[in-house]
């Protein structure tokens, strides 16, 4: 009826579509993911499949996470990347699912191990008959190759996991003793080695896809080429789509050559990951039944809300993610331990865990999270919102109502940490309630936050930590970690730390970590704040989810 008017609109739209389609098609061709008929068919199949509910063979998982950059063990240092690597690859040893302390190690690709008395030479007997997809049998050379590669790449990838975990300072070299025996020779006595070896950065790679001196990155349209990990794990990475550097779709298929097939793993044949960019979207997806399981990050509010929802099941577990308050100790006011202690005493952790995390996190009084060896309640000594102590300490230094202690409290504002704004606000309130402290809240996005930290311009700032491996060794050093730029150093504490590394005697280690905590309370260079809980939400029909202290999600154990 409109005639040329319609024509105009339609033409406008069409031209837009055509032009861009041209460009996009061009892009897709040159990127090499031209859709073949087969692709389309499997695609149709998938869509049909996953719309039919109650298919035992597929588990759809929703998450707000995303692989940060790569699935290359020599680089990946983010939770989700590690989680995927764990599904598709294998380490020599791993922590027994459900382990309370995270210290019960079982062999995966290794069947046995022993260390020299000085803890500098470790021999591992390898499992025989483990096959790569192409039929090659896994052997000691693969182990050597993997570790040599990881360590060689450190200078190239200073922000990678092996660098972060200090492989360079720990490993001297790796020897192939026999086809099924490999020896690690260390630079230092290192008791938590099993922990390191269970970390994803120690995943065995497939030389065919893992060039010796180049990091492997995402290649659009070719899942296999996108990761160097040797597909000896329970699953294979069969699809990986990224858009704008963020995951859009990941599909895992059961590995027909998995060494532990006999035990009936993996229980579920296909895992499909759906990526939501915020907790709200994920929460809606699980309550609408769009996904079988929602893991990381359903917000505490939603979790409590979902607990009353009969259509879903909420799983709770042990958390090991901690946050702590750092002080810039190189200048006033925090160059004085008493000031730091005064602030530490005025903190009100419970208020935060109750109001911000609604009880899904717990106050932390030791840098080592509960459950792990060497966890203490040291900081409880300073009390919660213990204003009498605060006032008396600050009084000695001439701070009072009229002349309060003034400083900037910094928080990260781009969602890198959960609800950091609200936390900061409550910390400020608690501190100012003492009447002798005046806090100025400052915030920065994650990148600038790190820059500020390195430039040491922040008086006090909140930071977080996540376990690389389940051992106090991965936590205790935070008190003086150089990259935190607190400029706090304490030879005694470091000495204790090294001693603890040099012994397997757990009572002794417990004692040593206890001492470190004890001194930390006096020094307050870094003050533990809280340790998170862990939770996952699933449909009622999903079983055997282990949320243990390792924080690992082991998809191959899950059944529905």
């Amino acid at each position: 009826m409109i005639g040329r008017v319609e024509l105009a609109i339609v033409a406008l739209v069409l031209i837009g579509i055509i032009v861009s389609s041209g460009a996009m098609y061009y892009a897709s061709v040159t990127l090499g993911n031209v859709s073949t008929l087969k692709d389309q068919l499997t695609d149709l199949q998938n869509s049909l499949q996953s719309t039919l509910t109650g298919l035992e063979t597929t588990l759809t998982v929703g998450t707000t996470d995303s692989v940060e950059l790569t699935l290359d063990p020599a680089q990946a240092y983010d939770y989700f990347g590690w989680n995927i690597i764990q599904q598709i690859g294998e380490t020599l040893v791993s922590v027994q699912p459900g382990s309370a302390t995270g210290a019960d190690f079982v062999g995966n690709l290794a069947t046995g191990w022993n260390s020299s008395s000085d803890l500098k030479t470790w021999d591992f007997t390898l499992r025989s008959g483990v096959l790569f997809p192409d039929g090659t049998e896994f052997n000691a050379t693969h182990v050597k190759y993997s570790f040599d590669r990881a360590i060689e790449l450190i200078p190239q990838i200073p922000e990678g996991a092996p660098a972060g975990l200090g492989y360079g300072d720990i490993f001297d070299h790796t020897d192939v003793i026999s086809k099924y025996t490999v020896r690690f020779v260390l630079k230092i006595p290192f008791s938590p080695l099993l922990g390191i070896l269970s970390a994803r950065s120690s995943t065995i790679v497939d030389p065919k896809y893992a060039p010796r001196n180049v990091q492997v990155n995402y290649t659009a349209g070719d899942a296999r080429a996108s990761t160097p990990v040797a597909f000896v794990g329970p699953y294979k990475l069969s699809e990986w789509i990224r858009v704008g550097g963020r995951d859009q779709e990941i599909k895992l298929d059961a590995n027909p050559k998995y060494w532990n097939l006999a035990a009936g793993y993996p229980r579920i044949k296909h895992i499909i990951f759906k990526f939501y960019s915020d907790a709200a979207g994920l929460r809606l997806a699980i309550s609408a039944g769009d996904v079988d399981m929602a893991f990381r990050h359903i917000s505490p509010v939603d979790v409590l809300d979902l607990q009353t929802n009969p259509n879903v099941k909420v799983w709770f577990g042990t958390g090991a993610q901690i946050q702590y308050l750092c002080f810039q100790t190189k200048r006033a006011p925090f160059n004085d331990p008493r000031v730091r202690m005064a602030v530490a005493a005025a903190l009100n952790r419970t208020d935060v865990t109750e109001r911000v995390f609604l009880g899904l996190a717990n106050p932390l009084y030791s840098i080592v999270p509960p459950g792990m060896l060497g966890h203490t309640e040291a900081f409880a000594k300073l009390g919660e919102a213990n204003y009498t102590l605060t006032r008396s300490l600050l009084a000695q230094l001439g701070y009072n109502q009229g002349n309060p202690l003034k400083f900037d409290l910094w928080y990260e504002s781009s969602g890198h940490y959960p609800q950091s704004e609200q936390q900061a606000l409550l910390y400020k309130q608690a501190l100012e309630a003492s009447g002798v402290i005046a806090v100025t809240l400052k915030h920065a996005d994650w990148a600038s936050y790190k820059l500020n930290r390195d430039n040491e311009i922040m008086d006090a700032y909140v930071y977080g930590w996540y376990p690389d491996y389940v051992d106090p060794d991965d936590y205790a050093f935070l008190y003086w970690a150089s990259w935190l730029h607190t400029n706090y150093a304490n030879a005694t504490q470091v000495a204790y730390y090294d001693q603890a590394r040099a012994t397997t005697n757990s009572t002794l280690r417990t004692e040593l970590y206890g001492k470190i905590d004890g001194m930390a309370v006096e020094q307050c260079s870094v003050v533990p704040l809280w340790v998170s809980g862990a939770w996952a939400v699933t449909k009622p029909g999903v079983y055997s989810i282990f949320l243990d202290i390792t924080q690992d999600m082991r998809y191959w154990l899950i059944s529905k």
Binding site: E159, D290, G415
Partner: protein, 345 residues
Amino acid sequence: MGLRSYVITRIILTIPTLLLLLTAVFLVMRVLPGDPAALHFEKKGDPADVERLRQILGMDKPLWQQYINYIGGLVDIGYLRQHGYPNLGKSMYQTSEEVGGQVFSAFPATLELAIYATIIASVLGIMLGVASSKSYGKTPDHLIRNFGTITYAIPVFFLGLIFQLIFGVYLGWLPTGQRISNVAPPTTITGLYTIDSILQGNIIAFVESVRALLLPSLTLGIVLSGVFLRLTRANMLETLRLEFVTAARARGLQESTVTYGYALRNAFLPVLTMMGLQFAMLLGGAVLTETTFSWPGLGKYMVDRINFRDYTAIQGAVVMFGLFVTLVSLTVDVLCAYLDPRIRL
């Protein structure tokens, strides 16, 4: 002059504008507080590493040279042919990744949203505009005008949130995020899910992608319909008072023919021209809409990267937006030229 020569001159005219735009973006992005390269590192800000990053990003060179490389990269056809996207440099946050690739992978989402929003906005806006101009000064006219004014004052993301609240949370009818849910996305051909799914005869995917599109495009469309409404109304009122409209009536033509074939048909050209300009506004709204509906498009990409101070990425996104807008306004002008017989001789 023929249509062709008009088009050519029009294209030539856009070049300086584009160049200016690119330069502006470049300058803004280089006037940074702090050292972008140093931002990258989680643990150690080791100067050597920072230097390495600088080299990767070519920031060790003097500014003018960086500028040359930047412009040069954009017009590097060889690179384009090899990768299928222009050279926008490497991402600061994911140094191994090409910004061009990331931007191009995110663009279709934005394009699809923009297209459907434009359709909704223009159809809604024009229809209402015509209606109100026909009932000038009467109640419907006032109602429609107020609607227009209010849409103008609603923050697009607020409307989006309300829609999510109603249709997502309470009624649970429509997905509140993502381009497609429940099923795997169709294989990439155009990158527009609705088109691709049809091309592949994948009905489920089509339905799902439309469901996902509904809320975002409605939000954006409604907010922008106000502008189109206003334009249409004003131009209609102008045209309705011209003599040829009365003459048409005097020839006994149906009122609908007079309204659309005569009045709107003539009022439409200026409206269309303005639409070209408004498209920029639409893209602005798209950024917020994408953030609200976690729509994996260019806007969301840009907002995400702000958190990482990934300036090369932000720059790339902004450039892409610029190119898009230029392309559209070009198309619109050419379309007007084609539709207006008076230009065509």
